[in-house]
């Protein structure tokens, strides 16, 4: 992915270089930071195999190169191997983004044979007890076994660690685990607070001290390990003074297709109320990408208000994240409140301050992602 905060700026020449297909919102895990909508029960009509294939073909014609299969848990789709084979045949670099649950050595072999290029496997802790607490199921041993199987198949692998206050103090141990598994990349994805993560924000957000220690552990490990392991560290934007260059800009290089065929400029965008996002069942992907009002809404800088409009950094960070602006200020066209120039920055400061002040032993329990805890479908 074009990582939030990585400083990556890529000119896609107006093409959706990154296509992310969320094959399903279903998932056996219950991660309380899930990026799926909190009312995911509402979206039940998953695209069929043929519909996904037609999305993939149209994406390639529009210039998409990198393809991420995700969800929910993409392994729940029985046609995954067929879709990977098709995607490989038409020229995508195929990435599988999985929790590892449902991934067996047999399916792994079939996926590799189908042309899969890379696996991103999530891991939440270095022991089974904490891992189970964080994902709601005892799957740690399976994850480790499947990580070894992925390496045994010779597939490159990113170990993805969603970072919260619960596991941030184990940064060094998690790096050791990644090195032991001989993965090429480990990514510390400090949580971004949308959807389920936002619901649980006060329980998940680390303190500044924890973050400083974690960054120091990453730095020390980089020096020790050299080029044996690449460590990505996604900066938690609340602790920064400038917003992330979210998605390299709205509708710039990134295109997500949700399980029901809704096309989105990012995986979170459907949380912004008042924008009607187009669906691949009703429109061509070309019209969606080039002409639909949803994708044009925040392209370029014509939509910007102050302080972005006159800011000399607007081409660097594109005003930050539209979803975050919407969630925290009520208007998606506002400057991302993470920016110290935003009149809403105090909202972020208060959240960070509360995170350090809170008595952590008296916190409220995490709301796990589950169809029973999901919000009732509300009218949009």
């Amino acid at each position: 992915m074009p990582k939030d905060g990585s400083g990556l700026s890529l000119d896609g020449l107006g093409m959706p270089l990154w296509l992310v297909v969320e094959l399903t919102y279903k998932c056996p895990l219950q991660c309380p930071w899930c990026s799926n909508p909190v009312d995911f029960n509402k979206y039940r009509n998953e695209l069929s195999t043929e519909q996904w294939k037609s999305v993939l073909a149209e994406g390639r014609r529009l210039g998409s190169l990198q393809l991420g299969f995700t969800g929910g848990e993409p392994m729940l789709r029985k046609d995954l191997e067929e879709l990977v084979a098709y995607a490989d045949k038409i020229g995508y670099y195929t990435n599988l983004i999985t929790s590892g649950v449902g991934l067996t050595p047999e399916r792994l072999k079939a996926l590799k044979k189908a042309g899969l290029k890379q696996v991103q496997l999530s891991i939440q802790a270095c022991d089974s007890e904490l891992n189970e607490k964080l994902v709601g199921l005892d799957v740690f041993d399976h994850k480790i076994a499947i990580a070894r199987a992925i390496k045994a198949e010779g597939l490159p692998m990113v170990l993805n660690v969603p970072v919260s206050r619960y596991n941030i103090d184990h940064t060094a141990e998690l790096i050791d685990l990644a090195a032991d598994l001989k993965v090429e990349y480990v990514e510390f994805a400090n949580l971004q607070y949308y959807n389920w993560a936002l619901l649980n924000r006060s329980e998940l957000i680390p303190t500044r001290e924890q973050l400083v220690r974690s960054e120091a552990a990453v730095k020390a490990a980089r020096e020790k390990l050299g080029n044996k392991l690449t460590i990505y560290f996604v900066v938690p934007d609340y602790f920064d003074t400038r917003p992330k260059a979210c998605m390299n800009g709205w509708g710039s290089i990134h295109l997500t297709i949700a399980p029901d065929g809704t096309a989105l400029p990012c995986q979170e965008a459907r949380l912004i109320k008042g924008i009607e996002f187009p669906n691949v069942k009703e429109h061509s992907l070309e019209w969606i990408w080039k002409n639909s009002p949803g994708f044009n809404k925040f392209r370029g800088d014509g939509w910007m208000k102050e302080p972005c409009r006159s800011c000399d950094e607007r081409e660097k960070d594109f005003g930050g994240c539209r979803c975050q602006a919407f969630l925290l200020t009520g208007d998606a066209a506002n400057t991302d409140p993470v920016c110290s120039k935003s009149p809403h920055r105090h909202l972020i400061d208060e959240i960070v301050q509360r995170a350090s002040a809170e008595d952590r032993s008296c916190g409220k329990p995490l709301t796990m992602r589950h169809h029973r805890t999901a919000h009732e479908p509300a009218g949009e």
């Binding site: 093409m15 990198q66 490159p156």
Partner: protein, 95 residues
Amino acid sequence: MKPERHLSPSDAVELAPSFHFRWEEPQKAHVLLYPEGIVKLSETAAAILETCTGNPSIAQGTCELQDRYGRSDLGASVLEFLELAHAKGWIRVKS
């Protein structure tokens, strides 16, 4: 990422295993694809990468490039670019 050592003209280099190098028609450019990443290469970068990974040594790759472009002074800039590619983990020394 820091490379283990500097490259020398006698080294044979190859693309790192998870990297794919190819022509991408919509971009009208060669691209490098790797886990969750894309690099669009300039014509020069693509020529160096393709030629030097396709020859038994960097020196022989350089000769081929010099013949192709009618130059005799490309050694230093070829090596400079390959050092960069090596540091970024795109290529490795063949063992």
